[in-house]
Symmetry: C2
Subunit: 393 residues, 2 copies
């Protein structure tokens, strides 16, 4: 560009500055298993970086060079998608030099980077694979008396063809909303990359808002927050809306396979509890059911007065309240009942109790207890990859 | 909720903290025409807030109370959507207490708030109106040799009906991408609110990526940046891709009215130059054409060697290069050729030159020179409201 644009750039002056090399800070810089962070803060007194790594302290002090740029490196990182934020004199912020500056996780924003490796590479935004579309879709929920929003992923090729697709309903955790699985959850990248590699069947993925009194994510609809961003429940009402409102809408407006063999549901934490509630009470609807770090403590009466341990649940009360009629006849309908939890998750006791109860009911299931993971996004992405790879086969 | 969730919240602990009242900072707080900002930063030395207001200094120092919370108020704000960021000891950040914390503008992120008023209210995310859907759509561009992404807005009711809709192609400016009009541009809110109020016809809005060598926005596809986030051009190639690739894709995959009376195109800054280039060379395609603060200086040969003024353009060279065959026969095809620019925009001279040239060619057009606006989002939103309200009538 030979002409002079100075003076009219207005809102995009920073982009221009970056382009012109006026700001040359590279952050994060990933080389092998080492990441280096940099932040220009000549007037700051103390700068640190905090992130989701486990091989170093969560918060690492940064040091200032003579030009006022603070930096820190972390080595020995295992392949993973990491999130991080800076702290400048005690105030948190995302990384202004990172194009993936502000990835939303509920009410917070974080920057991200990836250390390459077999599973972590599935989280990357790869240009050179076919891409599915992601739509923010409004629908009526008579059950919840709200017009609500969900995100719908349609796989690459959906628009060009006439094929009908299986559908995977994917639920978020407490503090999240319909935006969660496609931001920190990387669901779009994971599905694009897995489908392109033949590791998952092409499928539609429906990401609902599991906060029963919330119409849409607060980032777009701040007013929705007045209804309570923490409106997540497992009272059965949201679960009913999945069956009565969401599935009919999806089957009407998308080219779907509508038999239960082609319908899956899974969720993380609160969404795992909602998933089990919805699916195991509607055993003719879903053949594929997954709970990732299920917050079964949220089931009605799970944390009653009968003296269960601090992390445990009262399965007798849960059975009466939530699963009064579940029995081994479910086995003929379920292709997969998948209960996964990290070994370091404080919810593990309640997950064991639930799967022990499933055993007493002779209900077939897969229980996965994964060492090295707590209650965290890194695990839910691993679960999504594992579960999605098993579906509809 | 009577059960104890402590210990498993993991990634959403902050949300929980907010809910429990452990962090009670309200920011921004809007009362009438006054906004108050607050930031908890007990260890910071200097905190300020900078924003897009014009009735106060752009950067306002904040003061610390005894609890370590910094605050500042700005009064007398005219109705508008304002963007702002904090500076903590010289480092910029968004407002962690604002649900609309990180609204993307190219490579930067900003927090926003609205001072209520007739036009500003059209920018608000209103729950209580019918909502259109927004889809991130991938399409093949043989012209640009890329598989690329665009955003497509379909109006409320699109899914339920069989109606065909007019289509409005809406282009961003330099430093922006396909994400721009739906983030800082508030196109979704504007269309939802205008359509609900009967101020605009229901229409499909297609928001393309005008950086000819970029597949998708860098926030999702950071790798795309290696091809040059500043790849915006007005060489005619991107413009050709609109005609040859984008329009056929949209007409094939959406229920569109395909006659030129039902097709509009407009853009801001670079997008205004691209719009004029594309539309006035394809006069049988678009009956409605708009340029908002058009960066006509970007046209090929506009800033040649022939000694035009510092902000002016060489219309003789532009005519030969860009518009060799445009003449008054266009008047029978064009319903509206809309050229709008703020009086304080340094591009105003080139906009006057272009419209003077249109006069010499006897091409009907509407020229709007709006006092009080420079090269800024507040003006482009005003233009969108004004232009969208005239379309397809």
């Amino acid at each position: 560009m030979v002409f002079c644009l100075t003076g009219f750039l207005g809102a995009n002056a920073q982009e221009w500055a970056n382009f012109r090399g006026m700001q040359r800070i590279v952050s994060p810089e990933v080389k092998g298993n080492t990441v280096t962070f940099r932040l220009n803060a000549p007037n700051a007194t103390a700068v640190s970086v905090s992130g989701s790594w486990k091989t170093a302290e969560r918060s690492v002090a940064m040091t200032k060079d003579t030009s006022g740029v603070w930096s820190a490196s972390i080595s020995g990182l295992v392949p993973e998608l990491y999130n991080y934020t800076f702290s400048v004199d005690g105030v948190g912020l995302t990384d202004p030099s990172n194009p993936q500056n502000s990835i939303r996780d509920g009410s917070r924003f974080m920057s991200i980077f990836i250390i390459s490796g077999p599973t972590a590479d599935l989280y990357a935004s790869v240009l050179d694979v076919p891409h599915g579309n992601l739509e923010k879709v409004w629908y009526k929920s008579p059950t919840l008396n709200l017009t609500r929003r969900m995100y719908v992923y349609t796989p690459a090729g959906y628009e060009e063809g006439t094929t009908k697709y299986p559908v995977f309903y994917l639920l978020h955790g407490m503090g999240g909303d319909e935006d969660a699985w496609s931001s920190m959850g990387r669901a779009v990248q994971i599905l694009d990359n897995m489908i392109a590699a033949g590791k998952a069947k092409p499928m539609i993925v429906v990401m609902t808002n599991g906060n029963a009194n919330q119409a849409a994510a607060t980032i777009d609809y701040a007013a929705a927050q007045t209804q309570g961003a923490m409106g997540g429940t497992t009272t059965g009402l949201f679960e009913k809306s999945i069956i009565d409102d969401v599935i009919p809408f999806i089957d009407k407006n998308y080219r779907t396979l509508t038999d239960p063999q082609n319908r899956a549901i899974a969720g993380l934490s609160m969404g795992g509890a909602q998933t089990s509630y919805a699916a195991l009470n509607n055993i003719d609807k879903f053949a594929w059911v997954g709970s990732f770090s299920g917050a079964f403590v949220m089931w009605p009466n799970a944390r009653g007065t009968s003296g269960q341990g601090s992390q445990g649940i009262n399965m007798e009360a849960v059975e009466k309240t939530v699963f009064p009629s579940l029995n081994s006849s479910a086995n003929s309908k379920l292709k997969l009942l998948y209960i996964a939890i990290g070994s370091d998750d404080s919810l593990i006791e309640s997950n064991r109790q639930f799967t022990d109860w499933l055993k007493t009911k002779n209900i077939n299931h897969t229980y996965i207890d994964t060492p090295g993971y707590a209650h965290e996004w890194s695990y839910w992405r691993v679960c999504l990859v594992d579960f999605a790879g098993k579906l509809f086969k």
